[in-house]
Each structure stands twice: as C-alpha cells, then as structure tokens.
Symmetry: C2
Subunit: 306 residues, 2 copies
C-alpha cells in the first residue's frame, strides 16, 4: 500500500476522508476551508489536546487503531465532563512521510469508531509532514441548553464521587514499560480507555456542582476542583474501589494514575447517588486535597515530564 | 526568565493564560475541561491546522510574535473564507522543554493580537513537551444565520475575482532562504500575512457563489473550486495585479505563491464588484484551471514537501 509520502498530501486526505462517515451534527464535513457543525443551543463546548509520539503513545506499545480510539476518547471525555454531548472532532495529523498509509488508515478508523460510540464524527482537520508523529485533536460539543459543568462550583459539605475505573491505565503502562504481556485487562485499559461518557449528563441530572474527567490522576485532578472552587477536598481512601488486578499497591495507582478518564465530581449532600457513582470524600473549607487527613502530593501526570 | 521546562506545565499555562484577554464570544475561557464559545445561529464553523517548525515556520527567519500572528491569521482566514466571523481559537503548543519562556509568551502575544483584530480570542488549548515546536490551531466562527460560502457553488459564466495581495509571501520566503535582508515589504509579507478578513462577508453581500482563501497558491486553490464545483476556471494573467516589488518574474509568484491569504471567489456575471475585488477570469464548462488558455500546472504549496 506504500507510504503517505508516496500518496501525497491530497491523496492521503482523500484516502482518510473516505473512512470517515459523518454523523448528523456535521452540516458540512471535510473538504472546504472549514467544517460546519450544529450547535443547537447557540453555544459550543470546545477542547483541544496534542498527543506526541513517545510521550503520549508509543507505536511499539499500541497499534494505530487503539491510538486513534484513545486520542478521540480523551477529548470526547473532556466534552462529556462539561455536561455536553460530543458532536465532532477535528484532527491534525503530523507524521514522517515514511509512515505506512495502512497505519494512518487504521488510526483514523480508531478515531471514527470512538466518535461513533457517542454520535459524533471526524468533521475535518489537517495532515502535514513532520519528524515525529503528532496528533492534534479538537472536540466540539453541545450543552443542550444547560449551564456547563465547570470545576468551580464545589461547596463545603458537598459529597465527592467518582464514576468509572481508576488506576488500571497506569498499571498497564508500567507493565508495558517492563515488557510484560499481561494481565490483558491492564494492557487494554492503557491502550484503549473507556470513559463513562454518559456520566456527564448523569452527573448534571444528579445536581453535580463540579465535574471533570480524571486524565492526570485522581488526587491531582481533584486538586483542580479544589483550586477552582476555593475549597478543600478530603478523600477517604477506604471508600475507593481498588480492583484486585492492581495487586497490593493498587491504592497508589487509584489515587495517582492518569488516563482512565473516569469522571469525578461534587454533589450536594442530599443528592441521591446511584450505585454507579462511588462516594469517596467530602468538600470542606480550606485548600488542597487531603487523603485520610493528610495533605496529598499530586504525583499525577505532568505533560512536561520527559 | 528561564525555560518552559523549569516553569512546568501548569506554571506555563498560568503564564500564557494571563496574556490572553477574552473577547465577548467566549463564554467560558481557559481553565476547565473545555471552553464554551457563543455560536449564535446554532452552528459553528470550525477549522484546524498543524504548523511544524522547519516546515511551516523557522525560528531563524521569524520571531515568536510574527509566528503567532501568522498561525492565527491562516486559521482565522479559513473561517472568514466561509463567510463566517471568527469567534475563538484553541491552540496546542508542543515544544522542547529548553524553549525560553519569553519566546512562548511572545508567541501567544502574537496569537492574541491577531485574534483581537477580528474580535476573537484564544479560548483554550494545550501545552506539551516535544522534540520539535508544533502549533495546532483550531479556529471557530459564527455564520450569522447565512449559508456557508463553500468551494462548490461556482457556475459556468461566473466571474472569478481576487481580493488581497498575491505572491509577496513566496517572494519573501525566497529572499529569506537566500539570506537577504530586503525588500522589507516582502520579508514582512512572509512573516506576517495580512488576510483581508472583511472580504468574506463582503463576498457574500456581492452574491459570491464560491470562496476560499489562497493559502497554497492561486492556481492550485482555484483548482479546488473547479474540482468541488465541477467546472473549469480560466484565468487571464494580464488581469492579475503583479506588484513591481516582485520584479520581472513576479507573475509566477502571483500565480503559484502561497500564504498571502488573499481571498478568491466566483460571482454571478451581473455582480457589481467594487474596486477592492479584481476580476481575473471566468468560470466555464469543463475541469481544471487554465491560464491564458493553457492548462495550468499547480506549482503551489504541498504540506508534504520536505
């Protein structure tokens, strides 16, 4: 099938675009100066991430399809964590001209399939030559007439709750770094996170006062809510679900592991949380995050860490 | 002032965010899982480009402020070329940790100032470490209740017209490659293009049937209109304005030079074009682009060219 350099810029765009079925929010898809995407309530939620080979993914650890799904997932989760419904992605793809066309096609298959799971699609983007593979993913979403669920609304007395899995991706990454080939559950969790997308709208219906998706580690990300809301967050480690597969040190991964894209939020004390949400702490007066009464070091993911 | 690595991810985000005043379309700016931007008519125009150091800009040719202005301009021009008003940018910034913080700050000053010129602002984004500097710019815009001005509406008999300067950026880039320090007008044109942003809305009011911004070269970009519209475009080279500063071979730069971000469109034969629009050709039955009756080779910019 050859390389993307042999295909050329416009040849590659044609090949990739044919693999991108468009969902109903996309009013004008790839091929013009800009895409046009529905924003039914007169606002659009928008977020963008850069993923750089060797830092955010490794081709020897993950195949292109999983890299695509993960790149889409982390941005779609950011939209869902605002209480919005994802509508579209724009994807910038920079790669060496020696990259296999088939690799690029599988990458876009992964992007498209993760979008399809939430009713969105890849509506546009860009391809350029570069010395390392970089993905620039922008996600757009519709707030459906409701206020965004920000990080700044937590109030003393609120309950802190988590929906989704924590710690598995970090444990899986450690296994890959050690060259191990299992447990499969952990490797898959690192390669293809499964954000509980529906948790955003669910949190809103439960009266959430703040919400985010846990991309950098629970303690670090709760720290963002604490800082934005001007409150302290107290986590009770005994309330955290530590999957057996994580082994004896699993609590550390649950507290600091990133990239599972669980959702963490704060809820009024009277909120009737269903079993899908795990109450793990309370909001108090003060600053920062404490775990079992002790100030917590973040220990989460830093995108500047080499 | 030190490097961005010394400052750390969140330190850098704080420093950059403080330099980004927010315009009125931004309802929720940087600091949450996603920004929220006004989309008054229930749709959003959205476009994304990747700019890679050494391919799309060179730090020894352009300072960070000009790189920022140009990166913003090329995306804002894409929005304007849809007939939309730019509302916001999202900017992903990948750079070596050894990058000077002051360099990054000036880059964002350039992004912010170019946005300010059109009533938009940098509403969000991402910073990551990488081995080469890459900018991922997404631009959003408001169509104000009107249909997007696509590439596909040109009809035989339409007039082809251009607004804005052509050829200067390519000539300036050649001078920089030759190590020359003038003419200043050409160097500035390459470093800091000045898209005629108002041309988008103006073209619409003149009844334009197709429109784009000339980013890759006039002939190549008119070829996109020809292909999308299923027509042929005949350019009369004698009608093109060739600035004296381009010298005796200037026509080639006007026909093939990219990155000036002039606007090219097609208009009904009866359109009363004001002097700001230069009629340079006609739309006919057929395919491709002809210049003075001869099929034109594109010769424009290919983002895969090393």
């Amino acid at each position: 099938m050859g390389t993307i350099g042999e295909l050329g810029e416009f040849g590659l765009i044609g090949r990739l675009t044919r693999r991108l079925p468009q969902a109903s929010p996309v009013l004008l898809g790839p091929g013009d100066d800009a895409a046009v995407v529905a924003a039914p309530d007169g606002r659009v939620a928008a977020t963008a991430d850069l993923l750089v080979e060797g830092r955010h993914f490794r081709r020897d650890w993950s195949g292109p399809y999983d890299i695509g799904r993960k790149a889409a997932a982390q941005n779609l989760a950011d939209i869902a964590a605002m209480g919005a419904r994802p509508t579209a992605l724009l994807v910038g793809f920079a790669a060496p001209l020696s990259t296999d066309t088939a690799w690029a096609e599988r990458l876009y298959d992964g992007l498209a399939d993760e979008c399809r799971a939430v009713g969105a699609s890849v509506a546009g983007g860009d391809v350029v030559g570069a010395s390392e593979i970089t993905l620039a993913v922008t996600a757009l979403g519709d707030l459906a007439g409701r206020p965004p669920l920000t990080r700044s609304g937590a109030r003393p007395g609120d309950v802190v709750a988590v929906r989704g899995r924590l710690g598995l991706s970090a444990a899986g990454m450690r296994l890959l770094a050690e060259g191990r080939d299992g447990p499969a559950e952990l490797l898959l969790a690192h390669r293809r996170p499964q954000p509980p997308y529906e948790a955003g709208e669910e949190a809103r219906s439960l009266g959430a006062t703040a919400l985010l998706d846990v991309s950098d580690g629970l303690v670090q990300d709760l720290g963002h809510i604490a800082a934005a809301s001007g409150v302290r967050i107290d986590v009770d480690s005994a309330a955290l679900h530590v999957p057996d597969v994580l082994g004896p040190d699993g609590l550390r991964d649950v507290l600091t592991g990133g990239e599972d894209h669980a959702f963490a939020g704060t809820f009024p004390p009277a909120a009737a949380l269903p079993p899908s949400w795990n109450a793990v702490g309370v909001v108090a007066e003060g600053t920062g995050v404490r775990v079992d009464g002790r100030p917590a070091e973040g220990g989460g993911w830093d995108h500047f860490r080499p």
